[in-house]
C-alpha cells in the first residue's frame, strides 16, 4: 500500500505548524545520540563561594574537542530580565572550538558576558546567556545546604534552575561561519552545536547549585539527587527573534518538515507491526500523559490546547487498547486515519511524533537529511518562462492566491528590525510608524502581488525579461522557484494577517529543537524547557532513547 505525503497546503498552515511536538527527529535528541560516545569532562570549575567565576566543560573524541566556557556573574535582581533588551545576565556562555588557552579565556571573559555588544572570533561556535529562576535556585540552595532535597512540586512546576534567553550561532557577532565547520561529520544536523551548548549549560547549573549549597553549609550540605537533576532541564524564553528564521531559510524548513512527513508516510506503510514495536508505541503514549499533566501554563490559549490534548490522548488510548488490533495490516495507517477523523491538530501531531519512537531504521537516515546547502538554490532560473511561474504559483500557493489584500485585516501587521537591538519585531502598520522599512517577510502578500503582475504578461516571456520591469518582486520570484522543488519550504498562511499568532512560528522551530512544555506568555513570546528528563553527561554511554516519555 502506498501512502501519499501529506498535503503541504494543510501541513504548512500556521495553526498546524504551531501544533508540532518534539520527536526522534528533534535536534536535541539527535545531538545526544551523536555525542553519546564522546568523552565528557569538567575541565575547570573556578567559582567563588557565591558561585561566581569561570567553568569549562568539554566533549572530546579523537583530536576533536568542543569546550563550553561559562562565566557566572553577580547581578542585581533589578537587572535580571529575560527580554532581549537586557544587558546583564546571571551567566554567559560560549562554545569554543578546541581547548581554550589562558589567553582565549581572558579574551572571552571580556567579550562573552557582553553578548551582542561583545566580539567573538572564528574559534567560537555558539554564544548564549541565561538567568536563574531565582525562586527555584535559592530554594534548592537552601534545602541542599540543610542536607535535604528540594520540594519536588516546586521543581516540577518550573522544570529548570536557569533559562537561556538567546542562543546565537552561524557567524553572529563574529562567531565562526557555518561553512568553516559544515564538513564535520558529528555536526551533520541542524543546530547541533547550539544543542551542545544548552546541554552543557544544564550540567553547569547543577554543579553551581551544589557548589553554592556546599559553601553555604560545608558540614551539612548534600548534592542534588541525580534523579532530580535528570528531571530538570534548561528553560528558554523565546521571542520574535526566531520567527523570521523559518521564512528566511526555506530549503532548510522544507528538509525538516519533509523528514517528518517521510517518516510518517513510511510508518503508515508498514504492513505488519511486531508486538515489541506496538508495545513500545503504546507505552510511550501512556507514559506521555505525565508530560501533559505536568505541562503548566497560565495562557488561556495554551490551557485550552493542553486540555483538549489530554482529553484526546485519553480517547486515543482507549482506541488503541480496545478497538485497534495491531495484528491487522497497516495499523499505523489506521491510527492516523482515526486521529484525523476523531481528534484535533494538536493531538494528531503529538501522536505522529510518538509513532517514530519504535522505528529507528526509518528515522535515523532522515536525520542526516535535515540540513541544507541553501546557496545551491539561490540563483533564479531566468531562462524559464512566465507560464512556468504561473503554474508554480497555482500549484504551490492555492490558498494564498485566494487572499484579498485590499482587505485591511490581511495587511494589518508588518515585520521590522528594531534599531536598538537589531532584533525582529512585529507591529500594526495602521497604528505604528516604520512600515516603510518593512522586512520581506510578508510572503503571502508578495506572492499574490507577483501573481497579479504575471496575469498581464505573455506566457512565453522569459523570467529575465520579466524581472527587468519587476525588480521589486525578485525576492518572491526566487522563492517560487525554490518552492517548486521544495514543497514544504513555505508557510501557507498570511504572516501579516491581524489574527496571526506569531508564537505558532516559534513553536514550529522549537519543536524541531526538541522543546517541551510550551508556555506562551503572550502571542509574541513563550517559555519552554529543553532536555528535561534527558540523561546526564556521565549516563550518555548507555541511556534509554525514549527518555522523553519516562
Amino acid at each position: 500500500m502506498k501512502v501519499e505525503l501529506r498535503d503541504p497546503n494543510i501541513i504548512m498552515k500556521l495553526s498546524r505548524l504551531g501544533s508540532f511536538h518534539q520527536s526522534k527527529l528533534s535536534f536535541l535528541r539527535s545531538f545526544l545520540d551523536e555525542f553519546k560516545d564522546w568523552e565528557y569532562n569538567r575541565d575547570l570549575f573556578n567559582l567563588d563561594p557565591g558561585g561566581y567565576g569561570v567553568a569549562i566543560y568539554s566533549f572530546k573524541k579523537d583530536k576533536r574537542v568542543y569546550s563550553l566556557v561559562c562565566f557566572a556573574n553577580k547581578i542585581d535582581d533589578n537587572d535580571r530580565s529575560d527580554r532581549v533588551i537586557a544587558t546583564k545576565w546571571d551567566a554567559a556562555f560560549t562554545l569554543h572550538d578546541g581547548v581554550p588557552s589562558k589567553k582565549d579565556i581572558e579574551r572571552l571573559k571580556n567579550e562573552v558576558p557582553r553578548q551582542e555588544v561583545g566580539r567573538l572570533s572564528y574559534k567560537e561556535l555558539t554564544l548564549s546567556r541565561a538567568n536563574k529562576s531565582v525562586r527555584v535556585f535559592n530554594h534548592v540552595v537552601e534545602k541542599l545546604s540543610e542536607g535535604n532535597q528540594p520540594d519536588l512540586d516546586l521543581l516540577e512546576k518550573v522544570g529548570y534552575l536557569y533559562r537561556t534567553t538567546a542562543v546565537y550561532g552561524s557567524g553572529k557577532f563574529g562567531l565562526a561561519d557555518r561553512f568553516r565547520i559544515k564538513n564535520r561529520a558529528e555536526i551533520n544536523g541542524p543546530f547541533r552545536l547550539e544543542m551542545m551548548l544548552v546541554y552543557l549549560v544544564r550540567q553547569f547549573t547543577f554543579d553551581q547549585v551544589n557548589h553554592v549549597a556546599k559553601h553555604k553549609n560545608p558540614e551539612k550540605a548534600v548534592n542534588l539527587d541525580k534523579k532530580i537533576c535528570r528531571n530538570l532541564g534548561i528553560g528558554n524564553s523565546t521571542g520574535l527573534g526566531m520567527a523570521p528564521f523559518i521564512v528566511n531559510h526555506p530549503t532548510l524548513l522544507n528538509n525538516w518538515i519533509l523528514s517528518r512527513e517521510i517518516a510518517l508516510k513510511e510508518i503508515r506503510e508498514i504492513k505488519n507491526v511486531n508486538s515489541k514495536d506496538a508495545d513500545l508505541f503504546k507505552k510511550c503514549v501512556k507514559d506521555s500523559l505525565k508530560n501533559i499533566t505536568s505541562w503548566n501554563s497560565e495562557s488561556e490559549f495554551q490551557i485550552k490546547k493542553i486540555n483538549s490534548l489530554l482529553f484526546n490522548v485519553k480517547k486515543f488510548l482507549e482506541f488503541i487498547e480496545n478497538q485497534l488490533d495491531f495484528s491487522t495490516p497497516y495499523p499505523f495507517n489506521q491510527i492516523y486515519l482515526w486521529l484525523e477523523k476523531e481528534t484535533c491538530e494538536e493531538t494528531i501531531e503529538y501522536i505522529v511524533s510518538m509513532m517514530m519512537e519504535p522505528f529507528d531504521k526509518i528515522v535515523q537516515p532522515l536525520i542526516k537529511k535535515m540540513s541544507s546547502d541553501e546557496e545551491k538554490y539561490f540563483r533564479i532560473p531566468t531562462e524559464r518562462t512566465v507560464l512556468d511561474l504561473k503554474n508554480i504559483l497555482k500549484q504551490r500557493y492555492p490558498d494564498i492566491l485566494k487572499m484579498d489584500f485590499k482587505d485591511k485585516s490581511n495587511l494589518r501587521n508588518f515585520w521590522f528590525i528594531s534599531k536598538n537591538k537589531e532584533e525582529p519585531r512585529y507591529a500594526d502598520r495602521f497604528e505604528e510608524g516604520g512600515a516603510e522599512l518593512e522586512q520581506p517577510l510578508a510572503i503571502a502578500r508578495d506572492i499574490k502581488k507577483l501573481n497579479d503582475q504575471l496575469i498581464s504578461c505573455k506566457d512565453d516571456l522569459t523570467i529575465d525579461r520579466f524581472l527587468m520591469n519587476n525588480a521589486d518582486l525578485r525576492h518572491v520570484v526566487r522563492r517560487a522557484f525554490i518552492v517548486e522543488k521544495f514543497p514544504y519550504a513555505e508557510i501557507q498562511d498570511n504572516t501579516i494577517n491581524e489574527n496571526v499568532v506569531p508564537i505558532d512560528m516559534l513553536r514550529l522551530k522549537l519543536s524541531f529543537f526538541g522543546a517541551l512544555k510550551f508556555d506562551p506568555k503572550s502571542d509574541k513570546w513563550l517559555r519552554i524547557c529543553m532536555f528535561q528528563g534527558a540523561p546526564l553527561p556521565h549516563e550518555l554511554k548507555d541511556y534509554n532513547q525514549h527518555w522523553v516519555y519516562r
Binding site: 563574529g174 531566468t382 525578485r474 525576492h475
Partner: protein
C-alpha cells in the same frame, strides 16, 4: 574579524536602505560575501559606491547587448551585474561584450563569477590594464591583487571563453608519455587472460 554572515547581512541591508529592492539587495549580500571570501575589497567598494549614490546618478542597464554605451552617467555595477547574471544564457552567444563605462567595477565581478558557474565557462574581464579571470566561481585571478581597484572602468571588455585546453599538444604528449611508464606491457597471454571482458563479444 567580521564573519561572512555579518558581511552578507549588512551589505544586504545597506543596499536596501539605498533603495534597491529586497531581491536585488539579496544579490548584493551574496556578491560582497563572495568578494570578501576571495580577498577583494567588497565592503570598501560597496560602502563607497552607496555613499556616492546618495547624490550622484548612475545608469541602469537592463538589457545587455554586444556594445553598451551609457548615455550620460556610468553604469550602476549592481543593476548591470544582476542583468548580466539573469541574461547570461543569452549573452553567452555574443561571446564578447563591451561596456563604455562602469562605476565601481569590482562590484560587478561577483556577478561575472556566478555567471561563469552558470554556463560552465571562464569569463575574462578587462578594462585599461586591469585583467580578471573568473573561473567557474571557484576563484578569481587578477593582475590587480593587493591594489586598489579603480572606481571607474572605461572601455570594458567581457569575453566568454570557450572551454579549451590551457596547454600545448606537445606539453600534453610529453606528460602523457611519462604517465605511460606506470603501464605494464601486455604479452599475448595477458591480452587473453587479464581483461575479464570482451573475450566472448560475439556470443
Amino acid at each position: 574579524m567580521k564573519s561572512l554572515s555579518e558581511i552578507e547581512t549588512t551589505s544586504k541591508r545597506a543596499s536596501r536602505a539605498l533603495g534597491y529592492s529586497w531581491g536585488i539587495s539579496e544579490e548584493v549580500g551574496k556578491s560582497v560575501r563572495l568578494l570578501e571570501m576571495f580577498n577583494f575589497e567588497g565592503i570598501k567598494n560597496l560602502n563607497e559606491y552607496l555613499n556616492e549614490k546618495k547624490d550622484k546618478k548612475f545608469e541602469n542597464l537592463n538589457l545587455i547587448n554586444e556594445n553598451n554605451e551609457c548615455s550620460e552617467f556610468s553604469y550602476c555595477p549592481i543593476i548591470l551585474g544582476v542583468s548580466f547574471l539573469d541574461q547570461i544564457e543569452k549573452i553567452e552567444k555574443i561571446k564578447t561584450i563591451n561596456f563604455s563605462k562602469i562605476a565601481y567595477p569590482l562590484l560587478f565581478l561577483p556577478f561575472l563569477s556566478r555567471s561563469s558557474e552558470v554556463i560552465g565557462k571562464k569569463i575574462f574581464f578587462k578594462f585599461e590594464k586591469n585583467e580578471f579571470l573568473l573561473n567557474i566561481n571557484v576563484n578569481i585571478s587578477t593582475n590587480l591583487l593587493n591594489k586598489n581597484c579603480p572606481n571607474i572602468a572605461n572601455n570594458v571588455e567581457v569575453k566568454i571563453l570557450e572551454n579549451n585546453d590551457n596547454f600545448t599538444e606537445q606539453d600534453w604528449k610529453s606528460l602523457y608519455q611519462l604517465s605511460e611508464k606506470t603501464f605494464v606491457e601486455e604479452t599475448e597471454s595477458l591480452k587473453k587472460g587479464a581483461a575479464g571482458a570482451g573475450l566472448t563479444d560475439n556470443d
